[in-house]
Symmetry: C2
Subunit: 108 residues, 2 copies
Amino acid sequence: MGDEHVEEWLPQPDVADIELVKVLHALGDPVRLALLKVYADGEQYSCAPGALGLGHLHKSTVSHHMRIMREAGVTSTRVVGRSRYVRLRRGDLDARFPGLLDALVSAL
Amino acid sequence: MGDEHVEEWLPQPDVADIELVKVLHALGDPVRLALLKVYADGEQYSCAPGALGLGHLHKSTVSHHMRIMREAGVTSTRVVGRSRYVRLRRGDLDARFPGLLDALVSAL
């Protein structure tokens, strides 16, 4: 098997360890709230700023924001070779904070 | 009429001007989320740190946090003479972001 089949996940908190204050801090920023809007459909997205409608931002800036979201438990990041794919942790967040994501996404 | 009857409100955004990102930023902090828990019952509270369960914090620190919440549209502050009373803008927030406060308060 070649390396192209290796898949891993970047570190993220377990569902039970997701903290409300960190989720709110993660989303209390214009760029990260814009990312939530992108991710709201539950699909996975590549981390390329252009693919996220954030082509005006430097890649390192977008990476910084995505790291905060992942570490807060808002998103998951899957690594496949040199590519990274991000997805909203919809089920985990709904289980941990019922109604919160629905209310947020409706307000976007 | 004496000065003790003068009542005013500190500046706050109109309902239509309350921004989700500012509300989330206001609540994405441990002290301010603790204040939300105090205010969640909808009653008005004096700004004395001790009355808010924040006696370990300096008065200026608590004032700073309360200002961020007020300017974000989360709370209203009424001034009566030398006293200030704060209350959650429950109705305004429910109108602006349906379901958000309920989800947040349930998660506290």
